[in-house]
């Protein structure tokens, strides 16, 4: 938190920045409260009670977060590594091919990708994770590559000229300078993954998608559907907010 405080202290508009940090969580808290008050005012039948209760909500929300988080961690590790490797001079020749494959991953509709993995492999959590990774791979890969390529050549030349090894240049110069752009890609991937993970219910991966799906099948639109889709939206906005805070904190100072 000290970094956060430092970041908010420096530069003009400290108050505006504080509002940006706190505004979104306050808004989302109010949205949760509104959802709760709305449901409390309704008479719920037994089907609705089975779908909307604390235990189910917590369990399904946790599952959705788990799907998005695990897939994002995996895709960050894989795609950033791939991005680094594909921007090295040695791999210049295979770069277009790999980027092409990553493109296919994103070009296929997400539900189709999920179904594909379920049919060829299995139903459940891990096939969903693999599908999510494949689906969001491109956004991080591309941002990593762009982030590394936009680093000023003269900065790298100065570093090499002073006797930094290639590894040192990568970790001390190139990656730190690429961090803002890589993080933007990670944030995009997180949002994609929260949205797509909702579809995970169709291949038995669980999550809040289940609540939405149930509501649609059972025709409980003004209760179960509102809670399910409302919670997914709140969760997505919250994760996006986390991403923006992370961007601010992790962006190297001086840029």
């Amino acid at each position: 938190m000290t970094t956060l405080q430092k970041a908010s202290r420096e530069g003009p508009g400290g108050a505006a920045r504080l509002l940006r940090y706190l505004g979104m969580p306050i808004f989302l808290g109010l949205a949760c409260l509104a959802l709760y008050l709305y449901i409390s005012s309704k008479e719920l039948d037994s089907i609705e009670q089975r779908n909307i209760n604390a235990e189910v909500i917590i369990q399904q929300t946790a599952r959705l977060v788990q799907l998005a988080a695990v897939s994002t961690v995996i895709v960050v590790i894989l795609a950033v590594t791939a991005g680094i490797l594909l921007t090295r001079p040695l791999t210049r020749r295979v770069t277009p091919a790999i980027v092409g494959i990553a493109n296919i991953g994103q070009a296929v509709p997400s539900i189709g990708l999920l179904a594909l993995f379920a049919l060829t492999w299995d139903f459940g959590f891990w096939p969903a994770i693999v599908a999510l990774v494949a689906y969001s791979f491109l956004s991080i890969l591309r941002n990593t590559m762009v982030g590394l390529q936009q680093v000023d050549r003269s900065t790298i030349e100065a570093a090499r000229g002073m006797g930094m090894t290639k590894m040192a240049v990568l970790f001390r110069i190139e990656l730190p300078l690429a961090v803002p752009i890589i993080l933007a890609g990670v944030r995009t991937a997180l949002i994609i993954n929260v949205g797509t993970a909702t579809l995970g219910t169709f291949i038995g991966a669980g999550g809040l998608g289940e609540m939405i799906n149930n509501a649609l099948r059972l025709g409980r639109y003004d209760t179960v559907l509102i809670v399910g889709s409302g919670l997914v939206a709140i969760l997505a906005l919250f994760i996006d907010w986390l991403g923006s805070v992370a961007e601010d904190i992790l962006r190297p100072r001086g840029l």
Partner: protein, 414 residues
């Protein structure tokens, strides 16, 4: 001039710091070599300027010394040691490197930027911190800038930090690729002066690349004028290049007005300043009057309590004893620093009121006065003997205006 002569003698006995032997570079996919069979020696403690038209291979040549560009063939010796196949990273830590774009690391503080090489060499924290302070002082940047980031600095300040960073681990050799190319002309002039002053103390061996012949003349102890493929057209002191261009190419490259350019080579500190009566603002009118009367001059120079020249006062000015000394006479303008070139001094004199220039030291303290006659004597001494002068092409005796324009244009062909 005598200073330069002894310096030259010292160089004759100086150790060779860098030796390039039959160095060639052919870039992949090109038929013509960028550098073709270049051999040259650079002595310890001198500034060698590689100058030539764009595309002549001067930057490629320089970058082969620290092997940012690997030579296709030939050998590089540093302090007598063959480093052609040595570990390039270790080699580069012994060579300071300054490029035109400076290449400061934007995400690191000024202190961290400067500490780059010392950290790689494993210095302890205390030593690094002391060194950073020392270097900031050397390049004239306040130590309070330590924790700032490059984007908070002006172009000139960044350039100074770039130089400080290159000097951090006290490398014997520095490579500078158009280091002052990206700053405005006024800042460039100041940075050049500062750097020359600094070099007077640190005595590094410096390879300096530029396309600007005037910068080369100003900065270089020796200048290598390069043609296409880095072929050396002439490698000699600025004086000899200006007085004895080896061939037409060199002559064209120097451009017109080589004689005027030679004035850039002499500093006021090389010539004798005239004796001039001075008094202080705090002295009484009577004292000042006596000063003028006892000297052969018509007027006296008044200094303030910090020895800075303030006013010229003639005997008529103090006849009216009621005007305070600070307001009599006329203000002391046309002030030049002791390390200014005669070219700048002459320029100042021509535009000044009385045709003489006041010489001050770095802190602006009075040192002496140079008058027009003294400079004329120096110019006379520079002139070639009668006979030789008749053979010079007439274009070299052009009026001053034209020459200055050419100088500003960067010394292209006439």
């Amino acid at each position: 001039m005598t200073d330069r002569a002894t310096e030259e003698q010292n160089r004759q006995t100086a150790e060779t710091m860098i030796r390039l032997e039959n160095l060639s570079k052919v870039f992949p996919g090109q038929d013509e070599p960028a550098v073709d069979d270049l051999s040259m020696e650079i002595y310890e403690g001198e500034i060698v300027v590689l100058v030539g038209p764009s595309g002549c291979g001067k930057t490629t040549t320089m970058k082969m010394i620290n092997r940012i560009i690997e030579p296709t063939s030939g050998k590089i010796f540093l302090e007598g040691e063959d480093v052609t196949k040595a570990n390039p990273d270790n080699l580069r830590r012994r060579i300071g490197y300054v490029i035109q774009q400076i290449g400061l690391f934007p995400h690191m503080t000024i202190a961290d930027n400067i500490a780059t090489v010392p950290r790689m060499l494993g210095w302890d924290k205390k030593r690094i911190s002391d060194r950073v302070d020392e270097l900031l002082e050397t390049v004239g940047i306040d130590p309070s800038y330590r924790e700032r980031y490059p984007k908070e600095l002006s172009g000139g300040q960044r350039q100074r930090i770039g130089v400080a960073r290159a000097m951090a681990a006290d490398p014997p050799v520095m490579l500078m690729d158009e280091p002052f190319g990206a700053v405005d002309p006024i800042t460039r002039d100041r940075l050049q002066d500062e750097f020359l002053r600094l070099q007077g103390e640190i005595r590094k061996t410096i390879v300096f690349v530029t396309h600007d012949i005037d910068e080369a003349i100003k900065m270089g102890d020796r200048i290598a004028i390069l043609k296409q493929h880095s072929k050396i057209a002439q490698y000699d002191t600025p004086e000899r290049i200006l007085t004895n261009p080896a061939d037409e190419f060199v002559q064209d490259f120097i451009g017109s007005g080589p004689s005027i350019k030679r004035l850039s080579l002499s500093r006021i500190s090389d010539i004798e300043t005239a004796d001039w009566p001075v008094a202080r603002l705090t002295d009484g009118h009577q004292h000042v009057r006596e000063k003028v009367q006892n000297s052969s001059r018509d007027y006296v120079l008044l200094l303030d309590d910090r020895d800075q020249p303030r006013r010229w006062v003639s005997i008529e000015d103090i006849e009216h004893g009621d005007i305070p000394l600070e307001e009599t006479g006329w203000p002391a303008v046309a002030i030049v620093e002791a390390n200014s070139s005669l070219y700048n001094t002459l320029d100042t004199m021509i535009t000044s009121y009385k045709g003489s220039a006041i010489v001050v030291d770095e802190e602006g303290r009075y040192q002496g006065v140079v008058d027009f006659e003294t400079v004329l004597e120096v110019i006379n001494a520079m002139r070639p003997p009668e006979q030789e002068r008749h053979m010079r092409p007439p274009e070299q005796e052009q009026p001053r205006e034209r020459t200055e324009r050419d100088l500003r244009a960067g010394g292209g062909g006439p």
